[in-house]
């Protein structure tokens, strides 16, 4: 008896029992189910939710690998810098090294494991209690979470946040497909407001910086946004910023790989090109407005907003988490706008508000996650007006007819 037949007979044994969804969730990872059509059309397209989610994960893998190496690289680079040695980043010289990988894997993989372990456990429990199949939504959330937190976030905090995010952010609304807020961002927002000292400042972005603080070996690693917000000069050049040799949350640093992932997602039609395009436009427009304000001389160099306002608009797009947010988070179909017209507005406003919050928020100079959460809340409103336009047209047609 082959594996297929064995699993089939176990599945038949579980049928109708409480634990059936838990077994089926594992079973369907190995084999697509033997289910056939029972109502409506007799054939179905090949795409299912697992494939959709899997495609997003594929698009995230390069970013994760980069994040692992970068965690190690930033750690050693910061130690060097503290000792007065300036490193010149080179891809194969000192980036893709065994040391960096060991250090990065040692810090990043536990985040991935905790995120998936805790999150899927919650999903399984809810699926068994509510008696529905385990939905795939968390596959992507679980991968996003470790990529949008600082490397040194304590694992227990992450676990608490994941439980909060999945239960309050998703399950209380009815589970996958029903949530209003992006679950991964809910988790990040929880961490941000519950444990702010672990989520911002200049001591959290490089592994070991917090532990070493106050010791003779102390070093720090500030994000570029942090430097700009304090009107400090930035030591990184364009290539560093674009390719990602910079400190930041695990997955957000390499704009280059994020663009590749974004192109892949748009090509596969999994992510909405409408949202991505309009978000980039929105961010550029806001950036241009701020640049204009600076050019007009309305804001002096003494202003605390000067640093970020004077940052060229295109640079805003490649520093911080905005690229990651636009490509992987804003495109979440459940919490985003659902109509095609609505997606343009939704994306545009995310980009627009991201840069606005980034500039005007002195305490924590990154706005994309707040902007996306804000627009998550307004997405149904946007859709409402789009759909109402269609409804009004239909009413008008009726009136023309009767008049």
């Amino acid at each position: 008896m082959g594996l297929k037949e064995k699993l089939h007979s176990i599945k038949e044994d579980f049928k109708g029992k409480k634990m059936a969804p838990a077994f089926n969730a594992l079973h369907t990872f190995l084999y697509t189910p033997n289910e056939t059509t029972h109502s409506g059309g007799h054939i179905r397209a090949v795409d299912d939710l697992k494939r959709t989610m899997n495609t997003v994960i594929i698009a995230l893998l390069p970013v994760l690998v980069w994040g692992i190496f970068n965690a190690g690289y930033q750690h050693y680079a910061a130690i060097d810098a503290a000792q007065g040695v300036i490193r010149e980043a080179s891809l194969f010289g000192n980036f893709f090294t065994w040391d960096n990988f060991i250090m990065g894997a040692w810090t990043v993989l536990p985040l991935v494991i905790v995120s998936y372990g805790v999150g899927l456990a919650v999903e399984f429990v809810f699926a068994v209690i509510k008696g529905h199949e385990v939905e795939e939504g968390y596959l992507v959330t679980g991968m996003l979470v470790p990529l949008i937190v600082p490397v040194d976030i304590p694992l227990w905090m992450l676990a608490v946040a994941v439980v909060f995010g999945v239960v309050i952010g998703k399950e209380v609304f009815g589970g996958t497909g029903m949530n209003i807020l992006n679950p991964a961002l809910t988790i990040r927002a929880f961490l941000f407001f519950a444990y702010p000292t672990w989520m911002s400042g200049d001591k959290v972005w490089v592994h070991g910086a917090k532990a070493a603080a106050g010791t003779p070996d102390a070093f720090s690693g500030e994000t570029i946004l942090g430097s700009y917000a304090q009107n400090n000069s930035v030591v990184y050049d364009f290539a560093d910023k674009f390719f990602g040799f910079i400190p930041g949350s695990v997955g957000e640093t390499s704009t280059f790989l994020i663009i590749i992932g974004g192109l892949f997602l748009m090509f596969t039609k999994i992510a909405s090109w409408r949202i991505i395009l309009s978000a980039v436009v929105g961010a550029a427009v806001m950036g241009l407005i701020f640049n204009g304000v600076v050019d007009q001389g309305w804001i002096g160099e003494g202003s605390k907003f000067y640093g970020l306002m004077s940052t060229p608009f295109w640079e805003h797009l490649i520093i911080g988490g905005i690229a990651f947010g636009i490509v992987y988070m804003a495109t979440d179909p459940v919490s985003g706008a659902q109509t095609n017209t609505g997606k343009y507005w939704y994306g545009f406003l995310i980009g627009f508000f991201s840069i606005m919050i980034r500039v005007f928020n002195p305490a924590y100079p990154e706005g994309v996650f707040l902007a996306i959460l804000l627009m998550n809340v307004f997405a149904p409103t946007i859709d409402h007006y789009v759909v109402q336009a269609n409804v009004k047209q239909r009413m008008k047609r009726l009136k023309l007819k009767t008049a």
């Binding site: 297929k4 089939h8 089926n24 369907t28 990872f29 190995l30 084999y31 697509t32 189910p33 033997n34 289910e35 056939t36 059509t37 029972h38 109502s39 409506g40 059309g41 007799h42 054939i43 179905r44 397209a45 090949v46 795409d47 299912d48 939710l49 697992k50 494939r51 959709t52 899997n54 495609t55 594929i58 199949e133 939905e135 795939e136 939504g137 589970g175 996958t176 497909g177 029903m178 090509f267 596969t268 039609k269 999994i270 909405s272 409408r274 179909p333 459940v334 985003g336 659902q338 109509t339 095609n340 859709d383 759909v387 269609n390 409804v391 047209q393 239909r394 047609r397 009726l398 007819k401």
Partner: protein
């Protein structure tokens, strides 16, 4: 005058096993079955007891909702069985054919001189009325309504669709008689849509407004055409008739006889020799299925097309409205890592490691596997790509699921039929039963609003 309708959104599902353009007489069927479930929302009131002799074209039962709507026997023979299901609902009326073809005859009616009342009356008494469907609700037309217009789609864009130009060849006179008659029942027009090209059987018809449709499926769906030509407003009714039923209607006016003959296509990847067969409404599917030959045992037989038809067993019968019979493999098997490996042999509307976008002209051998399990609605924007009507499909489906009548009405529920959601159902990542959701929504509206 001809007008062009261009459809851009949609998806042509190209399948293996299209019917060859040859015609064969199906072996004579021993029994014929009329299933009242084919007539949605009709409660039958049977006119005969079991064992009674009936003639072809003689009313078997009428609708409890409107006694004037009669349903006739396709053949002459004996009503051997009235099969009932749960709650004693009549599920099958079985007629054993006697082979004599005794027909219940009417006098001929000159459609050119007859008035609307006479035409209506003849259609009702001769059992032709069930062929007229109405929107809203996609049910048999209410007798006393006056339709804004009547729509006929002479272009079938569904997968493995039979070619009307072939199956209706020689029926031009009957078609003409039918449209001339129906034209008197509406103050509007009869809109007839045909595919481009073609010296089609429809091109020479008068009394119709001819439209040319181009584009992928569902360009041939009458619902799509209504939406583009003259969308249904609240309070309005339009009628739809399919061409093969037009031919039956016309023939009755010309000859006085109800001719239940159908030229159907027998197709699908599991059919050995896919071709056209001449048979009758309600005939045993085994008569033509085994004549054409079936590959393998584990197959699904479908009366109707693969997107909207009904599953039938090997001892089942052709549906009342169906002019297709399709056999495809059952897909009740597991597939190892089917959800993440690259796929070349199935159709996809995305490009997520699925490569059907590379081969737009390839024909596929699809089975009945759902390729995934039922999930909540997650993905957005993919229905719109295959849904050409000026309606928001996802929002309408959700309104139906929460039974929000106001929203359903506002979002265009009066304009749709379940078949319009066959393609969104096909591409649905969450494997939701769209057609069933819409049908339920329509029934609810019909019950609450009427």
């Amino acid at each position: 005058m001809s007008k062009d309708i261009k459809i851009k959104k949609g998806l042509d599902i190209k399948l293996v096993g299209a019917a060859e353009k040859t015609i064969a007489d199906a072996p004579k069927s021993r029994t014929y079955v009329i299933k009242p479930s084919d007539f949605h929302l009709v409660t039958p009131k049977v006119l005969f007891k079991e064992g009674a002799a009936v003639k072809a074209g003689e009313p078997l039962f009428y609708s409890k909702q409107d006694e004037r709507i009669k349903f006739v026997s396709p053949v002459s023979g004996t009503l051997t069985e009235i099969r009932r299901g749960a709650k004693r609902v009549i599920t099958h009326l079985v007629i054993e054919a006697d082979g004599t073809e005794t027909t219940h005859e009417f006098s001929k009616l000159d459609v050119n001189s007859a008035d609307a009342e006479a035409i209506k009356e003849r259609m009702l008494e001769a059992g032709l009325w069930p062929f007229i469907k109405q929107r809203p609700y996609d049910i048999i037309a209410a007798v006393d309504t006056t339709p804004e217009a009547i729509f006929v789609s002479g272009h079938n864009s569904s997968p493995l669709a039979p070619d009307y130009n072939f199956s209706l060849k020689g029926k031009e006179a009957a078609l003409q008689a039918a449209v001339t008659a129906l034209a008197k029942l509406t103050p509007g027009k009869i809109h007839l849509s045909v595919a481009k090209s073609s010296d089609s059987v429809f091109n020479s018809l008068s009394d119709v407004e001819l439209h040319t449709v181009t584009g992928p499926h569902p360009s041939g769906n009458v619902g799509t055409q209504i939406n583009k030509i003259q969308p249904v407003n609240k309070g309005e009714t339009v009628w739809t008739v399919t061409p093969e039923n037009l031919a039956i209607i016309g023939e009755l006016f010309l000859t006085g006889k109800f001719n239940a003959e159908r030229v159907i296509s027998v197709s699908g990847s599991s059919v050995k020799k896919p071709q056209y067969y001449k048979t009758k409404i309600g005939a045993e599917v085994s008569t033509f299925a085994y004549s054409a030959g079936i590959n393998g045992d584990n197959v699904r037989m479908i009366s109707g097309n693969v997107l909207t038809g009904d599953q039938v067993n090997a001892d089942g019968h052709l549906g009342y409205y169906h002019n297709e019979f399709v056999v495809i493999p059952e897909g009740d098997d597991y597939e190892f890592f089917g959800w993440n490996k690259p796929v070349f042999n199935k159709i996809s509307s995305s490009r997520a490691l699925t490569f059907s976008w590379l081969f737009p002209n390839k024909k596929y051998d699809l089975d009945t596997n759902t390729n995934g399990e039922h999930r909540a609605f997650v993905v957005t924007g993919n229905y719109e790509e295959v849904f050409p009507m000026d309606i928001y499909p996802l929002q309408l489906l959700k309104a139906c699921m929460v039974e929000d009548l106001d929203a359903m009405e506002a979002l265009g529920m009066y304009e749709v039929a379940p078949e319009d959601f066959a393609l969104t159902e096909f591409v649905c990542v969450s494997k939701q039963p769209h057609q069933a959701i819409i049908r339920k929504g329509l029934d609810l509206m019909h019950e609450e609003i009427g």
